[in-house]
Symmetry: D3
Subunit: 143 residues, 6 copies
């Protein structure tokens, strides 16, 4: 059983701020620095979704990239692109808009759709700037 | 007189929206599409500032990159990084926050400081996403 | 009159070979080397289209990037993406499929549409690999 | 025993199409979309080969990168660069030219040579476009 | 327990040569090739440090990137940037300046500080050129 | 006469320092900062050479990229790669090793060979880090 890992990249642009509602302005400023700017800031986010599977003998595919791309567009790009992550995205409501929390929530948004499409979600990488990114493996063993 | 063009790259992350106050919501939505999202979106902006000059025989420099970097940080990064371009940036007040308008205003912010440092501002390139960017030559002949 | 130059990037993947029908196999092999492989090879092409203009006071736009992107998609990506440049592309018929010839022909495909959309085509950059690309300014003075 | 993973990157440009000989034209078109274009299309492929090992005390090397590069050039670049993956590459004959199948076959082409050079092949990453790539770990546990 | 992996990127520019003091000039030249140039050569090194952890409910952070960046700057960039890796860096003294040895030594420089900051060092990736890089997981199981 | 500009990219890795022999250590340190480190530092330099010309009707080429690449390798990469720019490169002898001075000297090294190969050298871009680069047009009007 020769598993291959295939990755699809998509991008979205969004505003957010890092802000803990239970804290004073001073503490938010102290912990989150310029990321706590009251009037928001934003990023070009890049998301890379990796699916694990054995290539289908008839197609040579682990998963059809057209299907994988469509799942990401429907479940991630549509609700997050050109949006405010704190105000506009239902699955981020009430959560701190850190990349760590984003990647955990995105995992839950796409995991089942990928399974239905015949693949196994293995990893999500979320790039916020050229200098920082997060990776998530569903809380289980990383690859 | 052998002019060389030297470029310094800096980055900033900001929120904005494209919105014409004189228009209805419908017209803003029609013209600006998802960029008109009421609650903002954002980008990682990359700015490249190009200075023209003849290398100084004692230093081999057109301009000391430490000086050029400091000018960009003081005049562009400080007021724009982790800010809302529509609300927080004095020199963008009352202007549509398009990349075209941004690059024109940034030119005016740094031109004189670069001249004082001994160089001549030749070009600003402002990258909004991997798919679009603008270039400005001060309204005069481009290079 | 403060002209700004705005650029839109698009990509397409195509097969081609460099082959002069008037030459022997030996001469084709000698001049074009591995690029003359009878059974084709291919590339991920990146095209950057630059439009010159003065920002519209109502929109802040030189040209609406949605319009520019649509023109490139209709006139360049649709006929060239996932195609054979020697066999499938009408406007390349009978021409050597070099990047130099491609960029000249693409210019003629999009120039008028961009003018109708209110902009002036200033430059096309066509990247074939990370190590080589061409730029074209319509045969007139470059910027 | 402090294992380090070292990676060498190489590139090749090739034509291919996705086509199942047992299917009708309609089914090929339906499943593979524009990738089934009869006259081929192509890509700039980037391959990253990762070797695991403990640095040699005399050289500081897991494997001499000159040797690793030469193995990749002899076994992968030479047979695949500026070629048609469906027609010209012996080890792809009779196989669907998907990136998944390519990475599995490439593994078998280089595994033994790397072992002879004193390293252990740990991973191959094959990038087809900026938006999709595959990774393979020999069918065993990934790292 | 949903572990997320967060990565911070930093850069430094350094000179080095590959040279084994116990070998003749001829053997150094034979094994290390142009990397053995007596008068040194150099690189732009990129380092990516990955920290594993469960996001803090109050901050959404595995580790504050400001802290992580500061640790890397203090322990890696300060001693290595614009330095000679063979002559100027205390923790590389007496060791072959290969990327493999560099990444092992850097691990020991930052591991404890990251633990004190509340994270667990999971991986260091050190990029020497666009064509080669190394990864290290502390000698234990990779992720 | 439809001139096209074609560019070839090559890379080299070198050590250097910025140091004015006529100055005290203190002044060198003050002006050049960490770039004056006595024991050198280094970079991965990327050079992009642009040639202007009208495509040859028989080849579709402004210049054969194999020839252009060979000229750059012979005249630039061979003398500069894995070398010390202050000590090892004849055409940099006695000159401050700034990127500005490098690009001017490289111009003189390759200009005639490109003319003999049938092209016209139009521009050299020399990238020192991701944050700074220089461009040179032979001292005449830039394009």
């Amino acid at each position: 059983m020769k598993s291959v890992y295939i990755t699809r990249r998509e991008i979205f642009n969004a505003a957010h701020k890092l802000w803990n509602e239970n804290w004073s302005d001073e503490k938010n400023e102290k912990v989150f620095g310029k990321c706590s700017n009251r009037n928001w800031h934003g990023h070009n986010f890049t998301i890379l979704v990796t699916v694990k599977g054995v290539p289908n003998p008839d197609t040579g595919f682990v998963i059809n990239l057209t299907d994988l791309s469509q799942i990401i567009k429907d479940k991630v790009i549509e609700p997050m692109d050109h949006k405010n992550l704190n105000l506009d995205v239902p699955f981020m409501a009430g959560k701190l808009a850190s990349t760590e929390n984003m990647v955990i929530e995105i995992w839950d948004q796409i995991k089942d759709s990928i399974m239905i499409a015949g693949g196994e979600l293995a990893k999500i990488k979320l790039i916020e700037t050229e200098n920082n990114f997060v990776e998530y493996f569903g809380g289980s063993e990383p690859y």
